[in-house]
């Protein structure tokens, strides 16, 4: 094995995660997330559900929802399709772990390096999302998640705590643009 002396960079191309505080809102880049997409195969719904639940320890969320339990989180992304997230340090090979669990009842793709996650906290975070997206942010309860547009970018918004704590998943290739959009909206309501 050759020895590589490489330093990992965050999605915003920094050595450390960027944490921006604007007024009462904090926008924190969170690179400690491994992501995989999980889709059920047609005709294998029963096997799929049972195997996925055995891995996660909880039932897969219904449309428009996200569930967190132990190391794992699951986000509904479409009919019969979910994103699974877990800490990167312990689940770097998340796709293989999930595939080993569901075997031939589901299809899995590695998503970790395709996404950037920003954790937005602050009591006026809802005002910020009002300016960013068509999501009805005031009706979102903890445990709800949805995908919509933020500045022309398709993003998942996950409500961790209604009114004050949200996660945004956006495409990593546009991480800096998304960060800029979030910071600008935060400045507008600061």
């Amino acid at each position: 094995m050759p020895e590589h002396r490489l330093k990992a960079l965050t999605p915003l191309a920094q050595a450390r995660p960027v944490i921006t505080t604007v007024g009462r809102i904090t926008i924190a880049e969170n690179p400690d997330v491994a992501l995989a997409s999980l889709a059920q195969r047609r005709g294998r719904e029963a096997d799929f559900t049972q195997r996925a639940e055995a891995l996660l320890g909880f039932a897969l969320p219904a449309p428009g929802h996200a569930v967190q339990g132990g190391d794992w989180g699951a986000i509904w992304t479409g009919p019969g399709q979910w994103f699974l997230e877990a800490p990167f340090a312990s689940h770097e090979d998340i796709a293989a772990m999930v595939k080993n669990a569901v075997t031939d009842a589901g299809s899995v793709t590695e998503q970790t390096d395709a996404w950037v996650r920003f954790d937005v906290t602050g009591r006026n975070a809802t005002e910020m999302f009002e300016r960013l997206s068509a999501i009805d942010i005031h009706r979102m309860q903890a445990g709800q998640a949805t995908r919509s547009l933020i500045e022309h970018l398709g993003c998942y918004v996950i409500c961790r705590e209604a009114g004050s704590r949200y996660s945004v998943l956006g495409m990593r290739s546009a991480a800096a643009s998304l960060h800029h959009a979030l910071v600008q909206a935060a400045e507008a309501v600061a």
Partner: protein, 95 residues
Amino acid sequence: MIINHPLLGPRDSQEFTYLGDASLIDRPDWQAPDAVDQFHDYLYLRDNPAGEHRELWFHEQGDRSWLVVTRNVVTHEILNVELASDVARSRGRSK
């Protein structure tokens, strides 16, 4: 315009793209003896009602599901929204 998504509730129309008449679901059998005639009608013949129209919409910036939207093209009122997969299955399709 707001489309009342059957799974996700009311959503802004900017999240959707439009394909066309919902009759596109009824794709003819390409192996039928008169397939050429059937495909001619499937591709080119459309009703053009001034009133209720069933259309295929795609939730591109949301959960990427295909919907059949019944819309009054005169008033733009949306009367009904169904998952296209449910509509196709109710017409005997397997997928």
